[in-house]
């Protein structure tokens, strides 16, 4: 590939003849979308779905933030408030964060990146999307018939024996969506193992593939445990037999072990793909090969593996043994090491680069900043003594929002902008993009940084009303949330606008090296006109060369 001149669509057309894009081939009917097995179309179906669930969950968050402006709890009743944070947690975790990067960007980009025609099991991929939405609609049905007030964690015995809300329906939705996760994970693993283009060895793969592979391992190994846990919970609730209920000889802490065996690794499902995206963005917009490729690649795998043996750090005060706490605390510190390695390597990649502060790059830098703060506060909560004080407070709320929203959502938006020209064939307006990245960064910090402080002061999470001394921080947080809201609505508007009015995108507007840029924008149905052959290491950028990026 010529590194100095961006390949434009006309070049492709000239050399290879005009090929119909995946939008055109197969038709534009609703049926052609709902029955498609094309990974690119399924990726877009996922994009619509997660946007839908995200909107509902975000509205719940907005009401929560409004409610918390005053200490008295006067906007909604306590019961409604509890249902709102359950909607927010459940939808955000299972129906937005977990499928966000893997199922949307991963689905779209992975086969392109490895030079394949599709995923290994295209029909299974479509089935995943249907299962995901059936699960999501059942969860929404549970909300519609009265909601659930257990929180997304469904702790027993409250969820199994005490609450009157629709736990079983909600759990059924999550259970079904879990199978969607498993099938996606299986699909990605097999695809990356078996469908790589000739010459694309493991250590020539872009980091995004490594991180999605690690994510898939977690999806496959952790999700079944959650599924069975939810089955056991439902059995206990429906038939009133003892599985976790202490009145019948059960141990509620066992539920927590099983739940967190899934849900802690699930946190890494929500961050690893974001790290993969950032590795793509930083290299492309610093025009540099990634520093320490092997370390960054193996760090993903290490995070996935160690991530499975840290779940007990959610339970330091739950009545588990001291030795259990000691072990899980140690492992939690260990899992921080590969995360730190990644941050250092990203920073070092900038050294002697040629840095373009494009929208995706701003998101990537925002990711590094917010993830670093989220990760550092992870060291606080991994320290046993501090966790005793701050667990179940807003400190934890702030910590995981820094990772999941500051990390994953920022990464997702960065990736979405980066691959937008490839996905839609249009460029987005660059200046608006930069503005919204800035607004999101400011709004996010104003929303969540005060929560660290009030958490340390003792503000307990999931409280509908609170002591007046915490009000000042809640007001700051709510103010930040409204800025954050603007930051999220802005891209929604200009991205939709760009579908019709954006400039036509060339094949490779960023002059990037990944295989996905070596085909037209948008790509043809089978991705490549001829199967590419890989001969070079990934990220062969040369910062010395003057380059030109194409902006919308």
């Amino acid at each position: 590939m010529n590194a100095t001149l961006p390949q434009t669509e006309t070049e492709f057309t000239r050399t290879r003849g005009r090929v119909p894009s995946y939008f055109e081939e197969g038709g534009r009917t609703v049926g052609s979308w709902l029955l498609t097995t094309d990974h690119k179309r399924i990726g877009i179906l996922y994009l619509y779905s997660i946007l839908f669930y995200f909107t509902i969950a975000a509205i719940a968050a907005a009401i929560i933030r409004l409610e918390l402006i005053t200490p008295q709890g006067d906007l909604v009743s306590a019961e409604t408030y509890n249902k709102l944070f359950t909607i927010h947690g459940t939808l955000m975790v299972w129906f937005f964060l977990i499928p966000s990067i893997p199922s949307v960007l991963g689905n779209f980009v992975i086969p392109l990146m490895i030079g394949a025609k599709d995923l290994a099991f295209p029909r299974l991929n479509l089935l995943s999307w249907y299962l995901f939405n059936i699960g999501g609609l059942i969860a929404l049905y549970a909300v519609a018939i009265g909601g659930v007030d257990t929180g997304w964690t469904f702790y027993t015995p409250y969820s199994s024996a005490f609450t009157n809300s629709h736990v079983v329906t909600m759990v059924a939705g999550v259970f079904i969506a879990g199978f969607s996760s498993i099938l996606t994970g299986v699909n990605f693993i097999v695809t990356i193992h078996k469908l790589r283009a000739p010459g694309l060895t493991w250590f020539k793969m872009p980091i995004f593939l490594w991180s999605n592979y690690a994510t898939s391992v977690i999806l496959v190994m952790a999700t079944p445990v959650l599924a069975m846990t939810l089955v056991l919970l439902s059995i206990e609730r429906i038939w009133g037999v003892g599985v976790f209920d202490p009145k019948l000889g059960g141990d509620p802490v066992l539920f927590q072990h099983l739940f967190w065996f899934y849900s802690h690794p699930a946190v890494y499902i929500m961050i690893l793909p974001g790290m993969g995206v950032v590795s793509e963005l930083v290299t492309c917009f610093a025009r540099k090969p990634i520093f320490g490729y092997h370390f960054v690649a193996f760090a993903s795998v290490a995070i996935a593996l160690i991530g499975f043996v840290v779940w007990g750090h959610h339970m330091f005060t739950a009545g588990t043994s001291i030795y259990s706490g000691l072990f899980f605390s140690l492992m939690s510190y260990l899992v921080a090491v590969p995360s730190a390695i990644k941050v250092f390597n990203w920073t070092m990649t900038l050294y002697r680069g040629r840095i373009f502060l494009t929208t995706p790059m701003l998101y990537a830098l925002g990711f590094i900043g917010l993830f670093t703060i989220g990760g550092l506060t992870g060291l606080f909560v991994a320290a046993l003594a501090i966790d005793v004080h701050v667990t179940d407070t807003y400190f934890i709320v702030a910590h995981f929002h820094y990772i999941m929203v500051g990390g994953m959502v920022t990464g997702f938006l960065g990736g979405l902008h980066y691959w937008w020209p490839k996905i839609t064939g249009r460029l987005y307006p660059e200046n608006l993009g930069r503005l919204s990245a800035l607004i999101i960064f400011i709004g996010f910090n104003l929303t969540f940084f005060p929560q660290y402080i009030m958490g340390y002061l003792g503000m307990v999470r999931r409280y509908h009303s609170y002591a007046p001394e915490f009000q000042i921080y809640h007001v700051m947080s709510s103010a930040g949330a409204s800025i954050l809201g603007v930051g999220y609505i802005l891209p929604l508007i200009y991205l939709i606008w760009s579908l019709k009015h954006g400039k036509k995108a060339p094949a490779n507007p960023w002059n990037a090296t990944g295989l996905e840029w070596q085909t037209t924008s948008p790509p043809p149905k089978h991705n490549f006109i001829e199967t590419p052959v890989v001969t070079r290491e990934p990220y062969q950028y040369s910062p010395e060369v003057e380059e030109r990026m194409i902006y919308g």
Binding site: P111, A116, K117, D118, L119, A120, F121, P122, I182, G185, V186, N187, I189, V190, H193, K194, L195, V220, M221, A222, T223, P224, V225, A227, M228, T229, V231, L232, I235, W239, G240, V241, G242, V243, L248, G249, G250, D251, L254, H257, L258, F261, H526
Partner: protein
């Protein structure tokens, strides 16, 4: 060898690649199944170590004859399934169909025996809840909760297995398989054997430990 075949999906270059991908996919799925059952086994291990005596006492109420007969049936069905795979690999369609039907028959036999056992359990008031037998304590009831859930989920898997094999047998009847293409036989066989492996452990855990 990589002859053009209508069963070769477009995303693959050649048949061995497709076969390997299918097998790897199935093995990955089986790994998830191990953890799916694993969550129940963990519950069993935790409660057994909490209430060793109550569990031993409750375990003595299980009907070992049914359990043992069923184990023999399932082990034999694995044998016939292997012969079905063998026939498929050698491209012999009629034995393939025969062994598949025999496997399905054995699977149904297992379910029949399990049904008889369940009805006897019900008769003995071994269903947890208000009418549970007074001979056993609350922790003993926990054993029976786990018994019903674990064997129930296993039976559900077996029913799915019978359904899958029925489809595969129907495909074999239609002459869909040859020595070059028989992926569905291979992966449904893996699933069948796996359900059998789970049962071997269930048999040991439920019927055998500290029986005397």
């Amino acid at each position: 060898m990589a002859e053009a075949h209508e069963a070769l999906a477009e995303q693959f270059e050649e048949m061995p690649q497709q076969t390997e991908a299918s097998l790897l996919g199935m093995w990955t799925f089986l790994a998830t199944e191990i953890l799916f059952f694993g969550a129940m086994f963990l519950g069993y291990i935790v409660y057994r170590s909490t209430y060793p005596e109550a569990f031993a006492e409750a375990g003595r109420h299980t009907l070992i004859l049914y359990g043992s007969v069923n184990t023999a049936i399932l082990l034999t069905s694995s044998f016939t399934m292997s012969l079905a795979i063998d026939s498929a690999q050698r491209g012999r369609n009629r034995p393939l169909l025969g062994f598949l039907l025999l496997t399905i028959l054995l699977g149904c036999g297992f379910l029949l025996v399990k049904g008889l056992e369940y009805s006897e359990d019900i008769h003995e008031h071994l269903v947890p809840g208000a009418h549970f037998t007074k001979e056993l304590s609350a922790p003993g009831q926990m054993f029976w909760v786990l018994y019903w859930i674990m064997t129930g989920v296993h039976s559900l898997h077996l029913i799915i297995g019978v359904g899958v094999l029925a489809v595969v047998a129907w495909m074999a009847w239609g002459g869909k398989f040859s020595e070059y293409y028989h992926n569905p036989v291979l992966i449904s066989g893996l699933y069948w054997h796996f359900v059998d492996v789970i049962w071997v452990w269930l048999y040991a855990f439920i019927y055998l430990i500290n029986r005397h």
